[in-house]
């Protein structure tokens, strides 16, 4: 139903209304819970690694606000991208294209949570962290979603910064500032994002082509994307080891990150070699799944070390 038709229907006596059909679960789905879980984890690691201490309740408030802010960004992203979500098989069942939540409801929900999370973080924790969260939401919604996503194949390279900020916000929640260490945490996620998403984009190329989203495989072709995945993986490996190289992680982390980095490059090389058919697709899925394990393990190691060494 178009917006004009909807307004016409609402103006009639005893009119039916196509809104108000979203369940609590549908609104939770708007928050992109899987993305949110990664945000919570990386922000928590940033918070735990930061020098100094924060009251556990304030720490929990900071993580909650960062999580809600990330969820609000997801809701606003789904509001803006409802037209392309409807086309792609991966996103077709999201609440807006599925007709469970109207775009207006999603917009109101996203804006309310954005303001609420930023103000709560600012009031209860510190305003630097609050401003940083506001900037992250702005970056994800306006820079990535509205501008880059539909205009350049570098969309996820630059836009990936939004997903990499949470550990810095977690750090800032404790210290009220940022530092080289927190920037390294940012850099790990920033360099990890392109090969992670391009591996998925190679498999879902037809979806992005149909939706006219200029992902790298759509614009530059699959061969060029394979070159890019390999190049970014080679760059990611030393960045992953940077916490050890810069002296804020142990040799155990250094050895583990080196091994994981080599495995990442090996899987990227596998994608580079296998260009056709099911083998190529399987190689992409392998790197996509391993990339999640890679990021989780690096941050879990840093968290473990901070708990053991900080105790």
């Amino acid at each position: 139903m178009s917006l004009a038709e909807r307004q016409d229907t609402i103006s009639q006596d005893s009119a039916v209304w196509d809104g108000g059909m979203g369940s609590v679960g549908d609104y939770v789905a708007l928050l992109k819970p899987r993305v949110m879980s990664l945000v919570i984890f990386t922000a928590f690691v940033g918070l735990m690694l930061a020098p100094g201490s924060v009251h556990p309740v304030l720490g929990a408030v900071a993580i909650l606000c960062i999580a809600i802010g990330a969820g609000a960004s997801g809701a606003l992203n789904m509001w803006y991208d409802a037209d392309i979500d409807e086309i792609m098989s991966r996103t077709r069942k999201r609440p807006i294209p599925a007709g469970k939540i109207t775009p207006e409801e999603a917009l109101a929900f996203g804006v309310t949570l954005s303001i609420g999370s930023v103000v709560t973080l600012g009031l209860l924790v510190n305003w630097f962290a609050g401003a940083f969260l506001a900037f992250t939401i702005f970056f994800y919604v306006f820079v990535y979603t509205m501008w880059l996503k539909r205009s350049t194949p570098q969309n996820i390279v630059i836009g990936g910064a939004a997903g990499a900020f949470p550990p810095m916000i977690g750090w800032a929640s404790v210290t009220g500032s940022v530092s080289l260490e927190s920037f390294v945490l940012f850099l790990i996620i920033f360099m990890w994002t392109p090969p992670h998403f391009w591996a998925l984009a190679l498999v879902k190329n037809s979806d992005y082509t149909a939706a006219k989203v200029p992902m790298l495989p759509v614009v530059a072709g699959e061969t060029s994307t394979r070159h890019h995945i390999l190049a970014y993986s080679v760059l990611l490996a030393p960045v992953g080891a940077a916490p050890y190289l810069l002296g804020f992680a142990s040799p155990v982390y250094g050895a583990a990150s080196a091994l994981l980095g080599l495995a990442f490059v090996a899987l990227a090389a596998d994608i580079w070699r296998k260009r056709e058919g099911d083998l190529a697709k399987a190689a992409c899925w392998r790197l996509f799944k391993f990339s999640i394990f890679y990021l989780f393990t690096l941050f879990a190691l840093l968290l473990g070390e901070s708990l053991v060494l900080g105790a």
Partner: protein, 53 residues
């Protein structure tokens, strides 16, 4: 005489979903009240008892 404007008539399904959303909003607001109360106590610490009479 003009017919009475009945406005939007919600279906049973919409009413059921609205009720569940209202409960969730109520819980979230109550949690926020508790949160701000607890953080106020934490931030003020012992100073919460220090007030002019």
């Amino acid at each position: 005489m003009a017919e009475e404007d009945k406005g939007i008539a919600l279906t049973d399904e919409q009413k059921k979903k609205r009720r569940s959303r209202s409960i969730a909003i109520g819980i979230a607001l109550a949690a926020l009240v508790v949160l701000f109360y607890v953080v106020t106590i934490i931030k003020l610490g012992p100073g919460i008892m220090d007030r002019a009479l």
